[in-house]
Symmetry: C2
Subunit: 423 residues, 2 copies
């Protein structure tokens, strides 16, 4: 498999950044090795729909070997990355050591609990496919459990859902959960009315979606509130138990469901790469060409990279990762043909978030849209960026089905409770 | 929820038998309570396609509350059944005791390892949805593991798959696995050729599919062999370890994958129902009207029932369960209106099994067909019996996709290895 005459590019992590880099390097005269701990690329922006029974897991994952089949210069290794030997140019994994000529680090991010151990121990988070399935199982189980509970207070706690973080994940999840309850679960459980359930969205700042223009923030907040979501701004969570969430002002909320969507940090591997300056969240500081200081052969892209523009790091989101992945790959190709590239320049194509049925907000290129057309744009763009013809079909079918029938058929409690709550 | 003026029918288990009974009782003037440990009905005949990456889990499961929504007299309880108090007319579950006027026991079957503990500890079996996902993850992992293994013997063991039991499950799984390897996995892994993999189907008797006419048995066996499956007849497995299978004649096969499909027994709950005569596999002996002796209010249907016809028990298969479930429900309705029903009579509609692409066998009403048309009939009948419009669409789409593109996109290694093999 290894061709000594060819230089080897290793991509560590096959999220949005790694995938774009691989796409650019496919068919080149470099040997390409893609490494990931999963055998699929995950379309994270739709993870919240898996957690709210709108999509099956498989619809948002694409098998990576489906790509290497068609790329003669590419191969794939399923492995967990443990470290990097910078001077020896070796990537260390649980499947052995891999030497590289160029390395693109694109290992993404993990949830940041800011050191609050009680929250980390008791909260759900939404980064991985199995976490989305766990959360879906748990939400459905809370309704099953509540439907036969006679203790009024316990029942109320079972039907209270707390989401922390007013960014896109928190907002989209809160809206989708409210719709799951109103359109589906309250009909499934004749004894439970949507009014006795409670969804609380907690945000430390004074507005939701703070990357958006003010009018869209206010629209999103008003829309969520009109749907029945309890939005608490300027509030902070400081602790949690299995059955409660503690706020900074001393209040306690009885709940068995806490979703933490209030922070991300660089993937753990960033901590094992020594002698590199770090930014907030442990992200690796990169040069204007996305390499790390003193190592022109190592590029860092996506959530792991702290790429300063006018002194501010670029946000941790898919479009940044995609553009950086593409840049790193082109920079390698350019260097191999003896040329150079101008520094990385991020093209801000805008931000968007969906709130619910026929309702979203989008800000791009000076335009600000909200409501039905923003929602339609959101649907089409997500279908477009989703990978694989079959996945697009399945997702489109599920969306059409949900829209017409107000049904979500993926409301299955699948695995035996991997995360058991004994109540 | 409970209406004292109405008599209550409890259905314990919502497989094929329970589901048909519920369908018949829906809309009647009896109170209907459906109990299952899962919140979905599972279409077991397609479980092997989930295990071979052909279908997503969600496509063969239908949420039971999707039914009770439309049936005013019906409700659902998610609970594990632990026992029955025959004299008190109480069903005991982990969600509390439930009184009944009529009880339909339809809890199905479990895998029968015939007391071989080493096999039970090391074999996969295919009864539940999570087992199918585990097996899929495991098969895909064996290929990932083998693709970077240099030890020739270990690599051979990783690529050897042993299936025990030449009934429909064993035959269908062996065929589907062979096609997964030939059409998909050997292309995904350029370093692994289909020829170096080995699928061994072991059957204790002298032919496969012994419920079929002889010529179809021979066709199925010949077809599997021509596809590259190693069919071993008159062979018996007597033990297993993580890395090997031991045969009665002393031979040892090095393998990390053993699927046990060689026997079923009544679900465990059958052992907790006292004073009832049992047949083979712990099945409860029923009267000609499917009730148990001395308890005209208790019906047993499907795999749990030992229903003798001319001294032989009816086979443990879906059509028997479905017809019995319907009969039990009609018998209850008849009794409530002061009438009686003639004894249960099984109408044998035939048997069928698919072997691979464009190849199946079917025997019905004196006809015996094989090859393409049997395969087409198999596809259409399975689509027809699958529950839910959305599921039919997803399954049809997956089948069409696989047939055209010879691809199986659901080849994902999803959950963290719940069943870890340390090699």
């Amino acid at each position: 498999m290894s061709d000594k005459t060819k230089k080897r590019v290793v991509i560590a992590g096959m999220g949005f950044g790694g995938l774009r880099a691989a796409n650019v390097l496919a068919g080149s005269n470099l040997e390409l090795l893609m490494v990931d701990r999963n055998n699929y690329h995950l379309f994270q922006p739709l993870l919240y729909q898996v957690a709210t029974a709108g999509l099956e897991e498989e619809a948002i994952a694409y098998p990576l070997r489906g790509l290497t089949r068609n790329w003669k210069n590419a191969s794939f290794l399923l492995a967990e990355i443990s470290g990097i030997d910078l001077s020896g140019k070796i990537l260390q994994t649980d499947a052995g050591n891999i030497s590289y000529d160029y390395l693109i680090i694109a290992a993404g991010s993990r949830t940041n609990f800011f050191g609050m151990e009680s929250v980390e121990a008791n909260a759900f988070d939404l980064k991985r496919l199995d976490q989305a399935e766990d959360l879906r199982n748990h939400i459905l189980m809370m309704f099953e459990r509540a439907s036969r509970e006679t203790n009024r207070l316990l029942r109320k706690a079972l039907l209270t859902f707390v989401i922390v973080g007013g960014g896109p994940t928190g907002v989209e999840f809160a809206g989708a959960l409210r719709e799951l309850i109103v359109y589906v679960l309250s009909k499934d459980h004749p004894g439970i009315s949507a009014d006795e359930t409670r969804i609380i969205l907690i945000e430390a700042g004074d507005s939701l979606l703070n990357a958006m223009p003010v009018e869209l923030r206010e629209y999103a907040c008003g829309k969520l509130r009109s749907m029945g979501v309890d939005v608490m701004l300027d509030s902070q969570v400081v602790g949690a138990t299995v059955e409660s969430v503690e706020l900074k002002d001393g209040k306690n909320i009885s709940t068995y469901t806490l979703l933490w969507a209030a922070g991300v940090a660089a993937a753990k591997i960033a901590g094992n790469i020594h002698d590199v300056v770090r930014g907030a969240g442990g992200r690796l500081l990169v040069q204007p060409d996305l390499t790390i200081n003193g190592h022109p052969e190592i590029f860092v892209v996506g959530d792991m990279a702290c790429c300063l523009v006018d002194g501010m790091p670029l946000p941790m989101m898919a479009p940044v990762a995609t553009q950086q992945g593409g840049y790193a790959a082109r920079a390698i190709l350019a260097r191999e043909s003896g040329m150079g590239l101008p520094p990385f320049h991020y093209v801000d194509k805008g931000v968007m978030a969906t709130i619910g049925r026929s309702s979203a907000v989008a800000a791009a290129a000076g335009f600000r849209i909200r409501g039905y057309f923003a929602w339609l744009a959101w649907l089409l763009l997500h279908l477009y960026y989703l990978i694989g013809f079959r996945n697009r079909l399945v997702v489109m079918m599920n969306w059409t089905y949900s829209y017409w029938f107000q049904e979500r058929q993926v409301r299955l409690i699948t695995a035996k409770k991997r995360r058991a709550v004994s109540i």
